[in-house]
């Protein structure tokens, strides 16, 4: 079999997805036997003009990680889509918006103001902000334009497969590699993880009990054998796709939902709100108000990794 051509790209990302690919350790040699990597900014010195010069559909598989929130990221997404036979949204940012999509609770102007003017480590007396075009003595400099909205990859280009996780686990990455090696990829549109929820895969004991208080994670040390939600900790497990190996709940901390909604669930946050409402022992309006107060950051908890792909998408913008 001829070697596959593989591209990896990071858009609005932290590099963790790229490092996760390296975390397969010696199995990276299997990847090298299977595929020639034709673009991978973190590890190899290919430039955008190299990709532009490639024939259309000449890349077999592109693993695109990171969210899309600038003209550059959208341009590269479209460029790689044109050059690739199979486009994979790799990691929670590309799949659902990820942590960067928490920016959808603010506006671009607020983010710029905070990052470049207000932040205490800045010294910017002239309140200079990044410019899309800037004349300098030698010519012109350009920067990509930042969008108001953080988008998922599938919101800008058609995507064949989704590999969730912040970052995707080694097991999932090897599943993708093996599927490529044996030419046994699932039907397009598939999410390469579990079809069950994390709750279904969790070993903790559930007692179908009600809770009377929601705790913040520093307020109690939970019993490592029992369901975290039934101990009053907001655990996203019942609203989250499994396949992560229960990494967080195994070390006694509640799930934050980085694998996104399970099959058949449109909105992860709404699903968890429903789960909390049904487990909370509330019989009066006062009980309900108490419960609502106990959830200190509902938006940032229920939509920790999934704001872009949620039904909310973003905080309402006051358009002029």
């Amino acid at each position: 079999m001829a070697k596959l051509k593989l591209a990896l790209y990071w858009a609005g990302a932290c590099g963790g997805c790229d490092v996760a690919v390296l975390d397969v350790n010696e199995k990276i040699l299997d990847v090298a036997n299977l595929a020639d990597i034709v673009f991978w900014p973190i590890a190899l010195d290919f430039k955008y003009h190299h990709v532009e010069a490639m024939p259309d559909k000449s890349i077999d598989v592109c693993l695109y990680n990171g969210c899309v929130r600038s003209t550059e990221q959208e341009h590269i997404a479209k460029l790689l889509r044109k050059k690739s036979k199979v486009m994979v949204a790799f990691g929670s940012c590309a799949c659902f918006g990820g942590i960067p999509a928490l920016a959808n609770f603010s506006t671009r102007a607020e983010i710029m103001e905070r990052a470049y003017i207000e932040a205490p480590s800045n010294e910017n007396p002239n309140k200079t902000l990044p410019q899309i075009k800037l004349k300098v003595d030698e010519g012109e400099l350009t920067l990509p334009e930042l969008y108001d909205d953080v988008l998922t990859l599938a919101q800008v280009v058609p995507v064949e497969y989704f590999v969730p996780g912040c970052p995707p686990t080694v097991e999932l990455i090897l599943k993708v590699v093996n599927a490529l090696a044996t030419n046994s990829l699932p039907p397009p549109g598939a999410v390469i993880a579990s079809e069950k929820t994390l709750c279904d895969e969790c070993d903790r004991k559930k007692e179908d009990k009600k809770i009377t208080k929601i705790y913040r994670t520093h307020e109690i040390i939970p019993d490592p054998q029992k369901c975290l939600l039934e101990q009053g900790l907001l655990c996203m497990g019942s609203a989250t796709r499994g396949g992560c190996g229960s990494l967080c709940v195994k070390v006694n901390i509640p799930c934050r939902g980085c694998f996104g909604p399970p099959a058949g669930v449109a909105d992860q946050g709404a699903k968890l709100v429903s789960a909390v409402a049904s487990i909370y022992d509330a019989s009066s309006k006062e009980d309900i108000e108490k419960m609502v107060k106990e959830v200190v950051d509902p938006a940032g908890t229920f939509y920790r990794f999934g704001m872009s792909s949620s039904m909310l998408k973003r905080k309402h913008l006051q358009r002029k």
């Binding site: 609005g12 932290c14 963790g16 955008y48 990820g98 983010i111 030698e138």
Partner: protein
Amino acid sequence: MKKVSVDPITRLEGHGKIEIFLNDEGDVANTYFQIPELRGFEKFCEGRPVEEMPRIVPRICGV
């Protein structure tokens, strides 16, 4: 003035590009290093529970 673009800069964590301007003699007149990316942790961490920060800010850099 001739411009040489290094875009993207590679084999490091983060996003960047370098624009090198050459004068008529072909010597470097000036060089600009630019960061074409912003996610806004400075803003979206505000108001979130402090005990959640260890689960949010590692995503500033995952390398």
